[in-house]
Symmetry: C2
Amino acid sequence: MISLTEENYLKALFNLANHAGEVNVNELSKQLSIKMPTVTSMMKKLAEKKLVHYESYKPLRLTEKGKKEAGLVIRKHRLTEMFLVDKMGFGWEEVHDIAEQVEHVRSVVFFDKIDELLGFPKIDPHGAPIPDKNGKFAWIAYDKLSDCHAGETVRVSAVIHTSSEFLKFLNNREIRLGTKIKIKSVESFDGSMVVSYDNRSADTLSHTVCERLLVEKE
Amino acid sequence: MISLTEENYLKALFNLANHAGEVNVNELSKQLSIKMPTVTSMMKKLAEKKLVHYESYKPLRLTEKGKKEAGLVIRKHRLTEMFLVDKMGFGWEEVHDIAEQVEHVRSVVFFDKIDELLGFPKIDPHGAPIPDKNGKFAWIAYDKLSDCHAGETVRVSAVIHTSSEFLKFLNNREIRLGTKIKIKSVESFDGSMVVSYDNRSADTLSHTVCERLLVEKE
DNA sequence: CTACGATGTTAGATATACCTAACAAAATGT
DNA sequence: ACATTTTGTTAGGTATATCTAACATCGTAG
């Protein structure tokens, strides 16, 4: 049995390990707003449960079992977010905090039903992939808008949604998943981009914004 | 701030106090499957928080504040049950355990949205009243079927749903909220009733069943 | 290459929510 | 009315999850 607290550690480990595969105690501590000694002792506990590989002073790594369990928590989180948006009418900027709580519900049928009612979605409202029932992710490689060039036309496929402020900003600009963006020019000194989309012929997006928009080239 | 555990104690206190207004430590202990000493110490804690009136060796009583908080938890529980049945397609026998978990979600907008999507329901799928946003109950006085007499025609308005087995039994007999029952005779020696309803011309219901069906006379 | 800052661990304390064992009070039955 | 059973409390212990303070190791900059 994995406690609610342990679920949160696994989820954070997975999210931080996204690219590198390894995580520091310090990073994890900051992510969870939990002091380092507490993190160290939890890592020892999770190591005993064969959920993480832990050795003193070495970076943390999820075991296969740990990845699976983390995937299942993230599955519950993302299915919940999708349900809140698609079936309950919440905005994509409102759902993270609610899903953070609902994800800890222990009922397989509950999430299976959500999955079914949604038609077995593959991505959440922010474009992030929903792991399958074994906790496995179908990774999709997107480009950051900030890595694209003038003249290219791209489609917004996912957003990095660390803050609801960013999502509200996108709401104001009427940028959503699927929005087709044409890059008119890139300012080399600050990385900001002049783009057009829908009926906005010239809008400027800062580098900070462009880094958080994940796109596919047409 | 009221913890998840405290919420469970308040809910149990309210449910047991339904009629009497007073509850024993022993009763509460059995209801929650928590040993008496633990209950005693929790009562002292809840008394400090002004949620219960507690004196050694005296029966337990919720304060007004305690009743309100208990009402709010029960509101969340019953709104969840209604949502699970009406909007997600679960059976009334499946929803208690799921609602037991979802009720602890701390998000006012989440439950407000559920309330709105359901059209501000006054009763849950078992006919129990849903408290208002101040935790206040609109009490409805029903009769037990077991207190009715031969010749009377009644309508099922609520069920006492301590076990999902009872609800499955009612499913098999096709008895639901709203079913109109005609009492043909009452066996005086065991209190069982011969009744007719829908297209069942003569069905026998044991006293145990009749005690758990709450009805309104036509 | 050593010293210092960043990172990580150990030790010991706290709060919550549970337990058992032992004792105390209340209720009950003959 | 007193002995017994039921109910309730006290005392002390455990597990989880957190903290601070002090110490240890690592990595790097001078």
